[in-house]
Amino acid sequence: MQELGKIHQLIIPFFGHDLTFNLEVILMTWIVIFILIAFGILINLKKNILPGPFQVVGELLIKTFSDLAEESLGEELAKRYSPMICALFMFLLISNWLGILPHLEEPTKDLNTTLGLGLMGTFFIAHFEGIRVKGLKNYLKEYTEPFIPMIPLNIIGELANVVSISFRLFGNIMGGSIIILVVSFLVYSIALPPFLNIFFGLFVGTIQAFVFTMLTTVYISLKVR
């Protein structure tokens, strides 16, 4: 039980502040990136009109997510953002599945990962596109609705979206791994943990990856229209 909440950190002093790096999370993120690159190369190795197994999976993913993006974002924006949306889903999927392998951990178990992804999609891209499509004046005007005193609450509402989207993923993955750890400890790792791993790793991990991707798309589309 001692490993609960233990993090390997690299602390570098930087002009009076301590810069903290979570080494394990960085390593695991690199592993995910490596797997994705390898997958990408495998897909492109043998492109054929009769697709091989990797090409089928790749085509399926890209088709599904570009359709989803087009439906909620419209054709023009979808062309720009569907690669990102598809990549986001694949990254989250592999990240959430990574914990099934022994000695590896989900990078999404760290709040920094999910918060970073949440800030990217729900905050920066959504607001950037909102300003770009609607113009700064109309964009700012939305904050005064329904009446001007609501401005601070509207701003908090925007920030709350980022908080909820990142804590949702973090809470699910972290909760799953802590439950697996505690239950394994209680039953001396007999019989139960593999089933829990399948439920939390494969099932909940897939659902949460999809939910995160969908919500990112939806928040962008809400800002645009």
Binding site: R168, M174, V204, I207
Partner: protein, 324 residues
Amino acid sequence: MDFDLQSWITIAAFAGGGLCMGLGAIGAAIGEGFTASQASTAISRNPSLSGDILKSMLMGQAIAESASIFALVVAMLLLFSNFSADTWLMVYVLISSGLCMGFGAIGAGVGAGFPAGAACKGLAHQPAAGSRLTTNMLIGSAVCQTPAIFALVTAFILLFTDFTGRPVSPTWAAIIGAGLASGLGAIGAGIGSGLAAESGCEGIARQPEAVSPVTNVMLLGQAVTQTTAIYGLLVSFILIFKIVPATEALAPAMALLGAGICMGLGAIGPGIGEGLTARDAVRWIARKEKAIADITRVMLVGQAVSESTGIYALVVALVLIFVV
């Protein structure tokens, strides 16, 4: 009125056992009553099938009862084991595990009554789908028990964790908070999963060919509904296993207790709300199988958004535990 530690522990064990069984009986009674009422309606509509309907009702009630049986187990354990400890924390542990299992059994009991009722009603409409209906009801109501199992796990961990050497002052609040987080948090998820399973049974009765998409989406909806209960379990584990420094001040203790109450209460609403969403989604997938992709997507997005208040509760609970 000066009792020693041992008599306080006995008092707490009796109080905890009473609370556990008393609270734990609420849910199953409501759920089984609902099932019986639906079964009566069904028999009055189709008296020739009364034997099948009765069988299905009893089967459904047996599952709805299991959460209460968990409560009975914990209550018996509290009443008849001889707890002796040299720390005052044992008093709080006994009360908290009783509360945890008692509250935790409410949701699952009420929830498991819904699919059983719907299965009885469906049997009267569509006797041919009997076996499929029963299977779906069994799966659906078994999944409803998961939050109660979470509460059971927390109650057992509380009872069997060694708290000797932990400082009494803030740890007592963490123990009570842990029990409340898991126990209260299980209510919403139990009721919500029951709502999802209800429309699963209803849908299969209406459209027996649609059994596999209906069961799949039902399970998906139930799994998402239970995430808030998982947050409750997470907060309980953190509260139990985090070592807090000893202090005489009241504020740190109240922060830990507040975290537990916050997560427990905060999980109720989203659990029921997500269950309502899953219910309508499953119902309409049974009626219009072609729209399954659209409906499932909207269900997931809608559930995720209605979960956000539960996530705010999680955030506040984590802030209360780790920051202040």
